[in-house]
């Protein structure tokens, strides 16, 4: 319900205000305490039946995108990427620039003008630019300033009854799940943390965790579904449609064996579809959370998403529901996780 709206915000790392305000307004009624901290984390506390323990649920609000770093004499915008973006997926894509969402296209020399050798090369980011149709620097400056962000211009669409196409499923899917889970009164004091700046190095979560000081934490994420041609089956990290992806380890965290196995067994007991995320790559807020303070028990459950960090990802509503169910079961059965 929230997902369509969430995925259409343009909130590249450091510019999360719009999505943060939306989330805040939607869940205001369930909050016992709301803090927006210095970096832009939205931290919403729901008081539990008991205050003996503190639980943290994390999803990040930011998305990958671009920041305008220069304007050429001819009115083209130079840019830098914000977060991990593969240059090959951005060429000729539509973007929205700045507060006023000026439409633009990421331009490159057309095929007719390419040298033969250039056709086999991945172009450098430096050779790309955003074209907003301005004919001069002066004209462009009327619409865009240095430091403005640009985000992918992608509509949310239902591809089938189950599959959706959108940008920023990483991690608005997680945000949507947290917005649902906050509706139920938790057993213990639970902080729903909508973290900023994950894509540039887990920066929001790193601070939030020191404010929350949880006893246990769970990161809700979106992660690479590699079940696509030309990957071989052995290289599949997770598969779309196979349910909630539980990580045993990624590039930033090794989950405690008891914790991730308990998540898998709870999924089995409750009839929730789940799979093990089978690659030690990437990293998410759990990486910052588990090392904070004197060390915090933390695991990750992810929504499988194809074409992550691109203008258009594909995810399954059933998978999103599985992640929600499993995170919900975690909150309900929290005592079993200590």
């Amino acid at each position: 319900m929230f997902l369509k709206k969430l995925c259409e915000f343009d909130c590249v790392s450091g510019n999360e205000k719009a999505v943060r305000d939306y989330i805040r307004n939607e869940i205001y009624q369930y909050a016992d305490e709301i803090v927006i901290d210095s970096i832009g984390n939205l931290i919403v506390k729901r008081t539990g039946v008991s205050s003996k323990k503190t639980v943290m649920l994390d999803a990040h609000t930011d998305e990958v995108g671009f920041i305008i770093s220069g304007i050429t004499d001819k009115g083209f915008l130079e840019f830098k990427t914000v977060g991990g973006i593969d240059t090959r997926v951005i060429i000729s894509k539509r973007v929205r620039v700045g507060k006023n969402k000026i439409p633009g296209v990421i331009g490159i020399k057309a095929i007719h003008l390419l040298e033969k050798s250039e056709r086999n090369e991945v172009p450098k980011i430096k050779s790309l630019y955003i074209d907003i149709g301005a004919s001069s620097k002066e004209e462009a400056e009327k619409y865009v300033e240095l430091g403005d962000y640009a985000a992918f211009d992608t509509e949310y669409e239902d591809l089938t009854d189950d599959l959706i196409k959108a940008k920023a499923i990483d991690d608005r899917a997680g945000c949507a799940i947290l917005m649902e889970l906050i509706k139920e009164k938790p057993k213990y004091d639970t902080y729903f943390c909508f973290s900023a700046q994950e894509e540039v190095g887990l920066r929001g979560a790193k601070i939030a965790v020191n404010r929350i000081k949880p006893d246990i934490a769970l990161a809700i994420e979106a992660t690479t579904s590699s079940d696509v041609a030309p990957s071989e089956e052995k290289d599949y990290v997770i598969r779309l449609g196979n349910g909630a992806a539980v990580s045993f380890a990624d590039g930033a965290t090794i989950a405690s064996e008891e914790f991730y196995k308990k998540l898998l067994s709870v999924a089995e007991e409750e009839g929730i579809k789940a799979q093990t995320k089978a690659a030690i790559t990437g990293g998410n807020d759990a990486g910052a959370i588990h090392l904070a303070q004197g060390g915090i028990k933390c695991a990750t459950i992810s929504v499988p998403c194809r074409y992550i960090h691109s203008p258009a990802g594909i995810a399954s509503k059933a998978d999103i529901d599985s992640v929600k169910q499993l995170a919900g079961a975690f909150l309900r059965r929290i005592d079993e996780f200590y």
Partner: protein
């Protein structure tokens, strides 16, 4: 005996349960309290009214984690810690439940791409393999313990040698200082355990006790550390420039007590000292290292004399007036 048991116990990064139990047995009789934390660090506390000192030796070892089981029962895997891909072929790995596997590759040209390597556990198909191991299970490299002519050869001397030294210091120490013997987790994947332990212990001084490379084998990179040359007092590595007060104190103590020592600058690799010295508002941190040949192989080699020197030097440091 103790060092043999330590090196042969199972404990890849993040899966340190078995090695934790073994070390607990050794440290409990000599400690005022022993506890573990959320990261899996094992901390033995010997109380005192003096300075608060953290001694850190990581107990995890490098290994592999299963990422996929194919229909014929072969396993695909990821690295846990820094593995040399070209040295993996035909090495044996052991899972915590005792099953053994052999690493090989599907490539003929042997360009050592880990994506093309697999572990053969002798299973006939996926079904049988899944009864033996699961995706997410970790395994460690096999490497028997041998002791002869004053040297020890084994797997996981990085850093069970450091754990051994800490246990020996704990057994022998007589000090007014307040000392935390931290057997840290997850060092090999980025000093993760030490980061949490340093925060919770909140020490004034710290020593990281780990292995260091040597520069005394044929045609190896130049380095002024020799096997058998004594305890290596760390000057710097990739993660830390040690605190001068601590470094100078260690050198003075070595000279005063006739403990053989050498100075260590290791350009390749970091240690827990890196995480500890930048914890909270900063910790005066040094390092004492065991010169070790063939680090991250199943046949790491240390000298017994060097182990003794490290024990004496760290004990002297903990008993000194800081």
């Amino acid at each position: 005996m103790m060092l043999e048991r330590l090196t042969q116990s199972f404990g890849p990064s993040g899966r340190e349960k078995e090695i934790t139990q073994v070390i607990s047995e050794y440290v409990t009789p000599f400690s005022d309290e022993v506890y573990t934390d959320a990261l899996g660090n094992l901390i033995a506390h010997k109380k005192g009214n003096g300075k608060k000192i953290m001694l850190a030796a990581h107990m995890d070892e490098i290994g592999v984690a299963v990422t996929y089981i194919d229909e014929k029962g072969f396993l695909r895997f990821s690295k846990i810690g820094g593995l040399y891909q070209r040295r993996l072929l035909n090495r044996r790995v052991r899972f915590s439940n005792g099953f053994t596997g052999v690493i090989d590759t599907e490539e003929n040209n042997k360009d050592y791409n880990i994506q093309k390597m697999y572990i053969d556990i002798g299973a006939t198909d996926r079904e049988q393999a899944e009864k033996m191991v699961s995706v997410g299970d970790m395994a460690v490299f096999e490497g028997e313990y041998k002791e002869e002519y004053g040297v020890i050869i084994s797997k996981a001397l990085d850093n069970r040698a450091g754990c051994y030294i800490l246990i020996k210091v704990l057994e022998q120490i007589k000090s007014e200082n307040d000392i935390y013997f931290c057997f840290t987790s997850q060092e090999e994947v980025g000093l993760r355990g030490a980061k949490a332990a340093a925060y919770s212990v909140n020490p004034e001084y710290a020593l990281a006790v780990d292995v260091t490379d040597t520069g005394d084998t044929p045609n190896c990179p130049k380095m002024a550390v020799n096997l058998g040359g004594g305890a290596a007092v760390k000057v710097m590595d990739r993660s830390v420039i040690t605190n001068p007060d601590v470094r100078i104190k260690l050198i003075e103590l070595a000279k005063k007590n006739n403990i053989p020592y050498q100075l260590e600058i290791m350009t390749d690799g970091g240690t827990d000292a890196g995480a500890i010295h930048t914890s909270r508002e900063g910790v005066k941190t040094g390092g004492v290292s065991v010169p070790t040949r063939y680090i991250h192989s199943p046949s790491e080699m240390v000298s017994k004399k060097d182990l003794e020197a490290c024990i004496k030097l760290i004990k002297a440091f903990c008993e000194s007036n800081l």
